[in-house]
């Protein structure tokens, strides 16, 4: 496929698709930030939920995150990839058709998300909320992108792949792996499905995906863009190509392991937590190596920082990258996570990354690229300067407000008095104390959004003043003179790296003898390596050769990113049968006196429906279901959470933020009437709450006709429903609803037994304890429990 003899060619770049992605970036960026401003307003003023089901915080928050990540940064990334790839490889994209399939397919996905999220159609997993038909579309579009990209690599007219291309390769490969695995699911209808993973497994797979969506969607492609566009804007080559080699390989190898740092002190096995923490801390080195490589690219040209707003955007972006990648590993240290997790500190951290790093890179790239794509000058450099300062003020105000709010929350939650009891037992006090910082956050977000609107106007005027350009160049192909695939795979770095990986696995997963052998093996490797220094002499180095062989390079990237995922996920999947379904009474939190009891019985049909409503409304974006083993948490919420309690939970609902209190032991804590009043008007039971009202649940009936189908799918996933339970699902649900309705009636409240409100109450009352009375089948349940 690669050219074998040098021939002169004329190449016309396909910049139409770059222009399309650039425009989409501008439009969706404004939309995503507008929704961000709205949800920030809702945090300060609950009335901004507008009293509509489809504009509640729980539904709009996924719209905001997906719009910013996949619509704004996604389109920006594709614009940068298409622009730079063609120029670095000196060839047009291999297929115009696939480029446009990619563009329009991606926009269709975004529109699909914009429609489905407000309707409450979601998988309930953060950053993976898209329903399964849209997931399929994502995979198809990604495949079109990948085929086009790798086809272009094969047709290139430049022998070596520049460092930006490496980062693009890692993005395409890794996102494909992550997205497919995390979205394995069984549909129950056209718009609903259950993840095939449950409980702890689901949590690990989700955060393996979630963390690496940050790594390989928001970081590696943007680093590729940095390595291309920053030198262009600065007019200087990258500071150190050598450093970029170390940066790339260490970053992609280490990043994939870090996912479990989102689950510190949870029910995830401790070894996986520790591994996530250690690899996160190790990420400091490559991340800062990359940051310094970007910053030092300006050596000798720092004067541009005074006059060029594009350079200003880039430098602040890279600085925010450094800050975020310092803060991330810091938050991954267990003792720091104990303070920061579930608080606004995390919100500040991710916005420093998304708005500071991704947003400023996008602004810089657009200000640089749009005038060139339309053959004109930027309409107003002064306005770009104003944008820069407004956006910088906005993001700093945002991040600092969230730092203060987050650290305050962490300290507030853990504060104990002299007797060792909670100093602030009422959760709502902390929320009320955060309100001022939420308002500061809103002002910061508004400033950032206002700056983005200035950019929209400036770029629109720029486009209007120019016309589309076409770039045509003359190039020579290159003579493919390197070794073949297998020869490269036998190179010393590959063999050395594989040996280190294998020995590490033996060291950590074998007994004493295996560990001793592994340590001896390490010693042999080090000595052999030291002896071989200077021994290998060739015309072209191994990395030079591998840069010239796109297939070999891609395979090595795949191996590098697979190791971490396999080591962390496979043991947990294999260990599924080792999670006990029953424990002794001493470990039970609800059982009456007795012998062994089932810690987790399947949810009743009505509780399944209630849980789906909980997922649909996005309750998990503000409420966790994971009580960590700290005194202050067990005092506030009850017994700490155990892995066994989640074996039938799909999707898991541990959450990652506590704007409201943890709900894992919510069952039985309050009467049905409390939940009724709380859901209809949260401030009637919790003065000062910013939770949206859910009065609409009272009038919406549950579609009980589909409940049996859901139980059937859950049974395929391992939940032990028998045929009688499935056949009687509707009647059982109505009967259980009837019990709750009868209880509410004693308080003078009238509500239908099949209303969504009743179903949700049944689920909330089940949380953290065993089966609740279900009028129609108590005998069947009891019989089955006894038979076990």
């Amino acid at each position: 496929m690669q050219a074998t003899t040098p021939v002169t060619k004329r190449v016309v770049y396909d910049d139409d698709v770059v222009r399309a992605f650039s425009l989409a970036t501008i439009i969706w960026g404004a939309v995503g930030m507008l929704v961000g401003v709205l949800v920030a307003t809702q945090m300060s003023f609950w009335q901004a939920n507008l009293g509509l089901s489809w504009t509640t915080f729980g539904r709009l928050r996924p719209l905001h995150t997906n719009a910013v990540i996949f619509a704004f940064v996604g389109n920006m990334m594709f614009a940068g990839v298409y622009y730079s790839t063609q120029r670095l490889l000196k060839t047009r994209m291999a297929s115009d058709l696939l480029s446009w399939v990619h563009f329009w397919g991606w926009q269709a996905i975004i529109v699909g998300a914009a429609v489905t999220f407000p309707l409450g159609l979601t998988q309930g997993k953060e950053y993976a909320e898209l329903i399964w038909p849209l997931d399929l579309l994502v995979v198809l579009v990604w495949v079109a992108f990948a085929v086009n990209f790798f086809w272009t690599l094969a047709r290139r007219n430049e022998r070596n792949l520049y460092v930006a291309i490496w980062f693009y390769i890692s993005t395409i490969i890794t996102i494909a792996v992550l997205y497919i695995v995390n979205n394995l699911q069984l549909p129950t209808s056209l718009t609903h499905s259950y993840s095939i993973f449950t409980g702890v497994q689901d949590a690990l797979v989700q955060w393996w995906y979630g963390h690496n969506a940050v790594a390989f969607f928001l970081t590696t492609p943007i680093l590729g863009i940095m390595y291309y566009f920053l030198p262009k804007a600065a007019g200087r080559p990258v500071y150190s190509y050598r450093l970029s080699i170390v940066h790339f390989w260490s970053l992609i190898f280490l990043y994939i392991w870090a996912g479990p740092h989102h689950l510190l002190y949870t029910a995830l096995p401790d070894w996986a937590q520790t591994m996530g923490m250690i690899f996160s801390v190790m990420l400091w080195a490559p991340s800062w190596g990359g940051m310094l490589n970007g910053l030092l690219t300006l050596r000798g040209a720092w004067d541009k920082l005074r006059t060029d707003p594009i350079i200003k955007f880039y430098i602040v972006a890279v600085t925010f990258y450094g800050m975020s990648t310092f803060e991330g590993p810091l938050l991954s240290i267990k003792s720091v996570s104990a303070l920061g997790h579930y608080t606004d500190w995390i919100i500040g951290h991710v916005h420093g990354g998304a708005l500071g790093w991704n947003g400023f890179m996008a602004f810089g790239m657009l200000y640089w690229m749009v005038p060139r794509l339309w053959g004109t000058q930027l309409k107003s450099v002064r306005l770009a300067e104003v944008h820069f300062w407004i956006a910088t003020f906005g993001i700093l105000l945002y991040v600092v407000a969230m730092w203060i709010s987050g650290v305050s929350q962490g300290l507030f939650w853990r504060a104990l008095d002299a007797e060792g009891f909670l100093k602030y037992p009422d959760f709502i006090e902390g929320l009320i104390a955060s309100r001022f910082m939420y308002q500061m956050r809103l002002i910061g977000g508004l400033a950032y959004f206002a700056g983005a609107l200035l950019m929209v106007g400036n770029l629109w005027a720029t486009i209007r003043s120019g016309r589309r350009t076409t770039v045509e160049i003359e190039v020579q192909g290159y003579a493919h003179d390197g070794p073949g695939f297998w020869a490269l795979m036998r190179g010393a770095p590959v063999l050395y790296s594989l040996a280190v990986i294998v020995l590490s696995l033996v060291l950590f997963f074998s007994g004493t003898l295996g560990s001793a052998i592994a340590l001896a093996g390490f010693g042999v490797l080090v000595i052999a390596g030291a002896l071989s220094i200077g021994a290998e002499k060739s015309r072209r180095s191994w990395h030079d050769l591998i840069e010239g062989h796109s297939l070999a390079f891609t395979v090595l990237v795949l191996v590098a990113i697979l190791v971490g995922g396999l080591v962390e996920i496979v043991p947990l999947v294999v260990a599924k049968k080792d999670v006990p379904a029953q424990v002794a009474h001493a470990d039970s939190v609800w059982a009456a006196k007795g012998e062994y009891v089932f810690v987790q019985m399947p949810y009743s049909p009505l509780e399944v429906e209630g849980r789906d409503i909980y997922v649909r409304e996005g309750c998990y974006v503000c409420h966790s279901q994971m009580i960590r083993p700290f005194r202050h948490e067990t005092l506030r919420y009850g017994e700490y959470s155990r892995a066994t309690e989640f074996i039938y939970d799909t999707p898991f609902q541990w959450g990652s933020k506590r704007t409201g209190p943890d709900l894992h032991r919510e069952g039985g804590k309050y009467a049905n009437v409390w939940h009724y009043l709380h859901l209809i008007d949260p401030r009637s039971t919790s003065p000062g709450s910013n939770m949206p009202p859910y009065a609409h649940l009272k009038t919406h009936p549950v579609d009980l006709g589909g409940t049996a189908g859901k139980l059937r799918v859950l049974r395929k996933l391992g939940v032990p429903y028998d045929e009688a339970e499935i056949a009687g699902a509707t009647a059982t649900a109505r009967a259980q609803g009837g019990l709750i309705v009868a209880d509410l009636a004693t308080q003078g409240i009238t509500v239908a037994s099949d209303s969504e409100l009743v179903a949700l109450i049944s689920y909330l009352q089940r949380l953290g304890r065993g089966p609740q009375p279900v009028a129609a089948v108590p005998v069947a349940v009891a019989a089955r429990e006894v038979s076990r």
């Binding site: 190449v11 016309v12 770049y13 396909d14 139409d16 730079s84 120029r87 670095l88 000196k90 060839t91 047009r92 291999a94 047709r155 430049e158 070596n160 520049y162 460092v163 930006a164 390595y227 566009f229 030198p231 262009k232 200087r236 080559p237 190509y241 050598r242 080699i245 060139r372 053959g375 016309r467 589309r468 350009t469 076409t470 770039v471 045509e472 160049i473 010393a492 770095p493 050395y496 280190v500 060291l507 340590l519 390490f522 010693g523 490797l525 080090v526 390596g529 030291a530 071989s532 220094i533 200077g534 290998e536 002499k537 060739s538 072209r540 180095s541 191994w542 990395h543 030079d544 840069e547």
Partner: protein
């Protein structure tokens, strides 16, 4: 305490191994080919000299 010793030992071994690998590859010239490649972004198309819009030719 035993765990600490083993952890320190393994960590040092990995650090030494990493340094050895780095110097092996440096002596083998793995980092010496980048001078031309680092200039690629600066010389990829005729910036500032856009040509009038024409129908692109199929490659």
């Amino acid at each position: 305490m035993d765990v600490l010793m083993i952890t320190v030992f393994v960590s040092l071994l990995l650090v030494v191994g990493g340094l050895v690998l780095f110097f092996v590859r440096q002596r083998a010239g793995d980092f010496d080919h980048g001078d031309r490649l680092s200039l690629l972004p600066l010389a990829d198309d005729p910036q500032g000299d856009p040509v009038p819009d024409v129908k692109p030719q199929e490659p």
